[in-house]
Subunit: 338 residues, 2 copies
């Protein structure tokens, strides 16, 4: 296969050295995704209590076992226990780009971590799969600092926002004006316990709950909550950063973007097919709708981690051209990571 | 609405000065699309027998009337008749970017025009909506010359290749490996005479025909041909540049990409919904298919011209950053033109 025409990264023989921050369900899935890649290598990972680093690559099985059985990556031979695991890792590891597979709660978490990177003097690419509009707003406020620090920060690069936002940005091209962008997701997970943070983030969107209240729930309380709904979470008019990302890309005002979905916490089968519908008016005055639908067999992990590393690769290309600061998934094309 | 975070073009108050080369059905539609844009202005246009240029903008109605009733834009007050209309226009007009709304036949046409631009010393952005793989291969051979000339050339930026190729590149992100990309288009046009060149390009894909044979057909011969199929053109395994574009973007080998469709030349209603299906294997080993489907009410003109100008805007941003050479629609994100 020929190489990309023009935006390709001049990698030489070296794989991109990747770090994963956060080692819950999403971080572990990210590590598994990287196992299949020639162009990227997992060299660093951190959880709340420690971190591990190995320039020639971490063994994913060992990482997952250490985290699951002993509570932290810090127990690995290549690991260290630390109460400031991110800061300590960043100071020590040689990493081209980090995937922030961190909980979205508290809502200031991504911006706080970005600030830590800015303070550290590290230069490279950060990519997140955050969800909320307000979290992107906090990062926007760091735009100048990120640029000055030589950090290329790719935000909203998961499934939604991310994959579906990018598809909406493409779909918008047929229209003179965009009337609405409607994102509806279906998620099925057999064991919500593997996605403790994610489920609390979802509950925070339910009327009567907010971020603080959801975060404070014990596992037993979450269990009780889910018992009442037969394990189903139905979410409407969610605060989702797809709206600000499409607004920033000049596609439509944010109030034309809506996000909702159904999460089944007791069944791996999706309760509905995740899709985005983009409705607009063509230059001839016709109203129509383009639809992008994800295959039901693709997991949340595949639809989040795939795009995240695709945008990380694009971020590396931008960084090597001296383009720093904040980018969203709706602004640049993700590259395919082999 | 806020401005784009980072890749925005620093336009100041000036609209992008756009030229349209070719003024058949596609060129005229392109002019109409530009009428609705604040960020772009049609300042130049050329047909086979002449050209017109006006720095403060051409009147689209007058252009279409002159072409239809008198045979060339050269008859306009702002026009000149010329047997070398492209060359003469490029030497004279101040244009930021040209949309090459030219026939794909002969198959070397785009590369020949690109050579003319390279020779002329003009620097700026070119965008095409070409169709065939071999036409992209000819442009690839010009990569170094385009770069040296300071030309940013965006190729395959119509509907397919273009909009659907970009959607496929996004969709691919969920997968570790892509098994197939299947593009199926439906086109309905009430009067094929308005798209004489396009219809001949389609006929050239029919078994028993080729580019030369199709191009040599008289209108009466096309009419007779269409009478036999009740106005329907069914196309399979077409030579379409989506394949090389996805290969160049590193997504899959070109032989995994297939393009086919149905064109109804006697009915504005599409015989089927245009769509692209991307099938792959996720990192967990699941096989699945993402589908991107265009709304039936969107015309070929809307799905070609919208993306073409979206990529032209991206091309302007690349050009202003000193990024010259050949780019495809699968490599960079089109921007939304307001």
């Amino acid at each position: 296969m020929k190489e990309s025409v023009k935006m390709k990264i001049e990698l030489g023989d070296r794989a991109i050295a990747v770090g994963v921050l956060g080692f819950g369900g999403l971080g572990q899935a990210a590590a598994r995704v990287l196992e299949g890649k020639r162009e990227m290598r997992l060299v660093a990972a951190a959880d709340r209590e420690g971190f591990a680093f190995a320039g020639d690559g971490l063994e994913v099985d060992a990482c997952i076992t250490a985290y699951r059985d002993r509570g932290s990556l810090g127990h690995l031979d290549a690991g260290s226990l630390s109460g400031n695991s991110i800061q300590d890792l960043v100071g020590k590891a040689k990493v081209d780009g980090y995937f922030l597979a961190l909980p979205n709660l508290p809502n200031t978490f991504m911006a706080d971590v970005a600030e830590q990177f800015i303070q550290s003097g590290w230069r490279g690419v950060l990519v997140d799969a955050l969800k909320r509009t307000s979290a992107v707003e906090q990062l926007l406020a760091l735009q100048d600092k990120l640029q000055a620090a030589g950090i290329t920060y790719m935000t909203g690069c998961g499934a939604t926002p991310g994959l579906l936002t990018a598809a909406a940005a493409i779909a918008a091209q047929s229209y003179a004006e965009i009337h609405s962008v409607n994102i509806t997701f279906g998620v099925g997970i057999a064991n919500w316990e593997a996605y403790r943070a994610t489920i609390r983030e979802d509950i925070a969107h339910i009327p009567g709950y907010d971020v603080d209240k959801a975060k404070a729930m014990s596992d037993a309380e979450v269990e009780t909550f889910l018992d009442k709904t037969n394990g189903i979470l139905k979410l409407e008019n969610m605060e989702h950063a797809d709206d600000i990302m499409l607004e920033l890309a000049g596609i439509c005002p944010r109030d034309r973007v809506t996000v909702g979905g159904v999460v089944d916490t007791r069944n791996p089968k999706k309760p509905l097919s995740t899709n985005v519908q983009v409705t607009g008016r063509t230059f001839e005055g016709k109203i129509s709708t383009h639809t992008f639908t994800l295959g039901d067999e693709t997991s949340m992990a595949a639809n989040v981690c795939g795009p995240a590393f695709g945008y990380l690769k694009t971020g590396i290309a931008l960084h090597r051209r001296g383009l720093y600061g904040l980018f969203t998934a709706a602004e640049v094309m993700p590259q395919f990571v082999r």
